[in-house]
Amino acid sequence: MSAIAQKKGFGSALWDWLTTVDHKKIAILYLASGGFFFVVGGIEAMLIRIQLAVPDNSFLSAGLYNEILTMHGTTMIFLAAMPILFGYMNAVVPLQIGARDVAFPFLNSLGFWLFFFGGIFLNLSWFMGGAPDAGWTSYASLSLYSPGHGIDFYALGLQISGAGTYIAGINFLVTIINMRAPGMTYMRMPLFTWTTFVASALILFAFPPLTIGLFFLIFDRMFGANFFDHTMGGNTIIWEHLFWIFGHPEVYILILPAFGIFSEIFAIFSRKRLFGYSAMVFATVLIGFLGFMVWAHHMFTVGLGPTANAIFAVATMAIAVPTGVKIFNWLLTIWGGSIKVTTPMLYALGFIPSFVAGGVTGVMQAAAPLDYQLHDSYFIVAHFHYVIVGGVVLAILAGLHLYWPLMFNTMLSEKLGKITFWFFFLGFHATFFIQHFLGLMGMPRRVYTFIEGQGWDLFNFISSMGAILMAIGVIVLVINIVMTTVKNVPVGNDPWKDGRTLEWAIPQPVPFYNFKRTPLVRGLDTFWIEKQEGNKEGMSYAEPLSDIHMPNNSFIPFVMSLGLFIAAFGALYNGEKAWAVPVLVIGLGITLASMATRSLKDDHGYHIHKEDLMDHKGGNY
């Protein structure tokens, strides 16, 4: 079977996207839906800043403000940042380690569709009686008594998309452990692969507690359980623990891949080997491990007692050490390098001071006594936006420019990219730097408005103006993407000219089977080594040309996720609508039936024959 694509109609193209199991296409799906939710979350952020621009504002009502605030946080973390990073992981990691695909292509597709339907379900709450309104942390006493179905949408939607994330995590772990090309030892893995590995391990251990917490919430609200109801012997602190046991590693699930992207960028555009590679790997693993031992620092003011607070404070401060190691290694990578300030490099250079600022305020909050002062104030808001926006979002934007040629074989405009950077970067600092002072001046977080004359008016106004700058930056980025796509100028091999790792050695557009022959990895930065030795092909090979085994496309992941999506409506309206239980049963039935179908059929995939490979050059899109 020759799978070299012909021109397709819209219908068959759509079908191709719905059934694809190719990690490169799933990467694009993740990027596109993550990008969509990023815009949605961004609009919510703008509404928040409009409301807070002036005192005593009535642009949004208090209830609606709570909903928008909750959805902004939830959307940005679960539906924008994580999926976009998954997009990059899917696009890059298999190529970086010399694999033909991920370990479980079918599950890869299932993971995406679960995330997608979970995200849609969560956002449907806007049109079906109101969004969740208890904050992205959804603390139990508050969320238990939230009227309407907002919280139910939150719990069920996150449950579904969380399952997708969990699957994706296992998939990347197995891919990285089992499918590295010959010669790609652990200590030769590029940093983005390493950070993906550690982030996936965190997903493996962090998502089950969230699953349990969400189930407790679902059972308490919808099925009459009493986990968090103190009159029935329950305890609301259990939710806080379970949420933060998940929630703190989640922060590292986001930031570690961001570190990985920046590590790649610093090495590529300083045209130097990454300084202190092994220290970087060690720091990554250590951050991952410590990330699990610090969750209660989000709960210092709960009253855990001085002993518990002290233990968690010290553990938290310890994380600053490996993070500091990373910062210095990046600085020393740039030191003496032959630097090219491209758009990704610009983001990376902007990242260091921004993230350090966020990290330092983090250590301040780690001091439990001081945290009593800072807790629930705008200082906290400023802190976590400095790490999330200053770290993760800058990495996402940098990665977009860096990996765009790899994913689409075109180059985003550098000029527009730099305009975006300056708008976004200046806007970001204008928005959030000043919020530190708002916090210190006593402005509590999560308030929908404030009385004038407390000294907060000007700072809030400046903050809102900064948000407008960020929005302009994002609009320029969208224009950039549209223009690049319309122009459609192919870039060919090694688009940045300074690629160091395997993914840049591959012909562009990337063939759907990735590597015609499995490459032989001869060291860290293997492509760089080959280029130095004048190897025109950019790769050494570990095997002769032979048939390639490929997985078949499948529609089952889509149906399986759709079943859960339908079942969620049943659970949501349980005890309220007559059709609730039948819908729940039908939905689960669809999911189970599609699982059985998958199980009963033998699906061995197909082979691309040697003869077809001989003269095949480009990819299939």
Binding site: R100, L173, I177, M179, R180, A181, P182, A201, L204, F205, P209, N235, I237, I238, H241, I245, F292, M293, A296, G303, L304, G305, A308, F515, R517, T518, A542, E543, S546, D547, I548, H549
Partner: protein, 111 residues
């Protein structure tokens, strides 16, 4: 690592007999393991049924459970065989994290 192929190798008679005998010895070991597990379970139930002091019985039955789980993992689930480094690493990491959750929930949830 690249290609998903498996080379079929036939054993000669001696190798085949040896492999079979080896497997049957392993199976005997499994039955012994099972007997130990039943025995440990019996002790645990008997100790509790006898109504001895909880301070004494509690730690003992937890220890018995731990031993039983180790037997289950290493013999029934073959973790003693080669190629189980990664499974062991991830399982123990999970167990370690899980253990800290249980400790916290026992100490700082109520006050």
């Amino acid at each position: 690592m690249g290609h998903d192929t498996h080379v079929v190798v036939a054993k000669n008679k001696t190798q085949y007999e040896y492999a079979r005998r080896k497997r049957s010895q392993t199976m005997q070991m499994q039955v012994v393991t099972f007997a130990i597990m039943i025995f440990l379970t019996f002790i645990a139930f008997a100790a509790v049924a006898a109504g001895m002091s909880a301070y004494y019985v509690g730690p003992v039955i937890l220890l018995l459970a731990a031993i039983q789980v180790v037997l289950q993992l290493y013999y029934f689930m073959h973790m003693s065989e080669k190629g189980h480094n990664m499974p062991a690493f991830f399982l123990y990491s999970g167990a370690l994290f899980g253990f800290t959750f249980v400790i916290t929930f026992l100490t700082i949830v109520w006050w």
